[in-house]
């Protein structure tokens, strides 16, 4: 069983405060790995370190066997590491199809082409439309992103990630801000992703976590408290005390 994503002694300090404190995370290829922890535990910081948005104070990150600690964000993305954002980071004044076509186009390496219009890159546009269709967004293809309901925008956030054909997908609270009825649908989409795609998921909704994940890491105050199967985590007294004691929903 190979390791898709790994950190070695990862530390990130802000002044005197260690947001990430000697984290050794190991995500197996094809895993459905959830990352849980109370608010402020440093989950998003960890994602930011994994993607290269933040540079670590100490430690290493390796992606698919390659040390990417020094590698800038966009290069890690090209190597297959894709993330979604907890708060939608979309292109407000672009239509939905434009946004996804942009992402697909970048993956195809079209981004440096300045002569022919994007519309002429039929492959990219077709692929983008296919993704929209799969996510049920096709009817909104020509709507401006900022005019859509939040739940729909969240789907676009996923669409952008899928457009990049990720090998390792980091989902930062994909259901955040989405009403429970719609979040089931969202998770259907995520659950249907091919098995080769490794998924790391930050999520607060424990129902979804326990249904989806085959492995759970618990992050508290920047350190990994525990990592094991969902059954073990659910029973573990310390986890209940630190985290599961809080109401969720």
């Amino acid at each position: 069983m190979s390791i898709a994503l790994q950190t070695h002694g990862l530390v990130r300090r802000f002044g005197g405060f260690a947001a990430t404190d000697h984290v050794n995370l190991s995500v197996a290829a094809g895993a459905r790995h959830a990352l849980i922890g109370p608010n402020g535990a440093g989950k998003t910081t960890l994602i930011n370190l994994l993607t290269g948005y933040l540079a670590p104070t100490e430690g290493r990150v390796s992606l698919l066997g390659e040390d990417v600690t020094r590698m800038p964000q966009h290069q890690r993305c090209r190597r297959g590491l894709v993330r979604t954002f907890q708060i939608n980071q979309l292109f407000g004044d672009m239509t939905v199809l434009e946004s996804v076509a942009l992402a697909v186009g970048e993956r195809h390496g079209l981004g440096a082409r300045w002569w022919k219009p994007l519309a002429a890159q039929a492959e990219a546009v077709d692929e983008a439309a296919l993704i929209l269709e799969r996510l049920g967004l096709l009817s909104d293809a020509y709507e401006l992103t900022r005019n859509l309901a939040y739940g729909r925008q969240r789907l676009i956030e996923i669409a952008l990630a899928l457009a990049l054909r990720p090998k390792v997908l980091l989902l930062d609270e994909p259901a955040a801000g989405v009403p429970t009825s719609e979040s089931r649908e969202l998770f259907e989409v995520i659950a249907q992703l091919p098995r080769e795609v490794t998924i790391v998921l930050i999520e607060h909704d424990m129902d979804l976590v326990f249904r989806f994940a085959d492995r759970i890491s618990v992050l508290v105050s920047g350190t990994l408290l525990l990592e094991d199967t969902p059954e073990v985590i659910a029973q573990h007294p310390r986890v209940r005390e630190v985290y599961l004691g809080e109401s969720h929903g």
Binding site: T51, V82, F85, Q89, F91, R107, L118, A119, L132
Partner: protein, 347 residues
């Protein structure tokens, strides 16, 4: 969850998808309004035969505004010093012209090249830092150039400028006449050629990625985009365009002075672009037309009063009509469309 629409009701999935994709990129094709717009310079040629110098100024300022739109309207780089590249282009022609190198097209090419080099080098200064720091850097570079040109006034002619720049006939055939007729046609043709190029550029994948950078620079690296490379590229192109505009000014007026590098030049340009509307290519052109015509019509008024109205226009624009002429028009059309949609949905 999704409301049924005409598209979803189509029987075949592939048909549904191709119905959607077929519509894509309609914006890239030339719209009828655009053809109409380009009739304006042609009409102006016949309608205003005594005003060729003024019309040339409009064409040149349009090109200058277009160059700023490329870096600002599309890539989101604010510049308080874009006149630097304009000035480099103008002085390239001026200094070469004084030494007898007067072929216009060669002058344009060299002006574009030098301005592009300056743009390329200074673009690296813009990649780091807060918005304020970047603003100050663009301002600083332009001011430095102004001071340099001022100090070496024996070469640049200083505030009085370099008169009598020699400009050879275009392509060896069309001599620049006193009335500015050839100058006008020449300027409009150069404007159109560069506009056409810019239009292709903004509709390309590269252009789309610039829009993405402007709308959400944080997202782009997470899509695998090396944003610095793209920004350097467009800044260089924008600088080259501004250099050509400056060169055109020097060639059609056969004169260049320090005013081309002044802060006022940069500030006026910002106003022109905001007035017309950013990120739409035509905004700079429309803004240039309105600005120069207004200035010409009001030119007998004391120059200080002109600045008062200018200032007032800026304040009102920013507070109430932020999208400029084109932006406000687009907003109005969009709200009409939405109201029509809602009316159609209401049972």
């Amino acid at each position: 969850m999704t409301t049924p629409s005409a598209i979803d009701a189509a029987p075949d999935r592939a048909a549904r998808i191709s119905a959607v994709t077929r519509r894509f990129g309609r914006g890239a094709r030339w719209q009828p309004l655009e053809y109409l717009f380009w009739c304006l310079p042609v009409a102006a040629y016949f309608l205003f035969p005594g005003n060729y110098l003024l019309l040339s100024q409009i064409a040149i300022t349009s090109l200058f505004a277009l160059s700023l739109d490329l870096i600002f309207g599309y890539a989101g780089i604010i510049s308080l010093g874009h006149a630097a590249f304009f000035g480099v282009g103008a002085y390239t022609v001026g200094l070469l012209g004084v030494r007898g190198v007067g072929d216009p097209l060669l002058g344009l090419a060299l002006a574009a090249l030098l301005a592009a080099v300056l743009g390329f080098l200074s673009s690296f200064l813009l990649l780091r830092g807060s918005e304020l720091a970047r603003l100050m850097v663009t301002l600083g570079v332009a001011l430095m150039l102004y001071e340099l040109a001022n100090k070496f006034s024996d070469v640049t002619g200083g505030v009085d400028g370099i008169p009598g720049i020699e400009v050879k006939p275009v392509l060896g055939l069309f001599e620049f006449d006193l009335f500015g007729r050839v100058g006008y046609l020449y300027s409009v043709l150069v404007l159109f050629a560069l506009f056409w190029l810019a239009r292709r550029l903004v509709h390309s994948p590269f252009g789309q990625s610039l829009r993405g950078i402007r709308m959400n620079a944080e997202r782009m690296p997470a899509l695998g985009v090396p944003i610095n490379r793209r920004l350097v590229a467009i800044y260089t192109v924008g600088a080259a365009y501004a250099g050509v505009a400056g060169a055109l000014l020097a060639q059609t007026n056969q004169f260049v002075s320090l005013a081309v590098l002044s802060f006022e030049n940069s500030a006026d340009l910002l106003l022109i672009l905001i007035l017309g509307g950013t990120g739409r290519l035509y905004g700079g052109l429309i803004g240039a037309i309105v600005f120069i015509v207004a200035k010409h019509v009001l030119s007998d008024i004391n120059p200080q009063y002109w600045h008062f109205w200018l200032g007032l226009a800026l304040v009102l624009l920013v507070m109430f009509a932020r999208g400029g002429i084109l932006g406000t028009a687009a907003q109005w059309l969009e709200s009409r469309r939405q109201r029509a949609q809602q009316a159609a949905r209401a049972p």
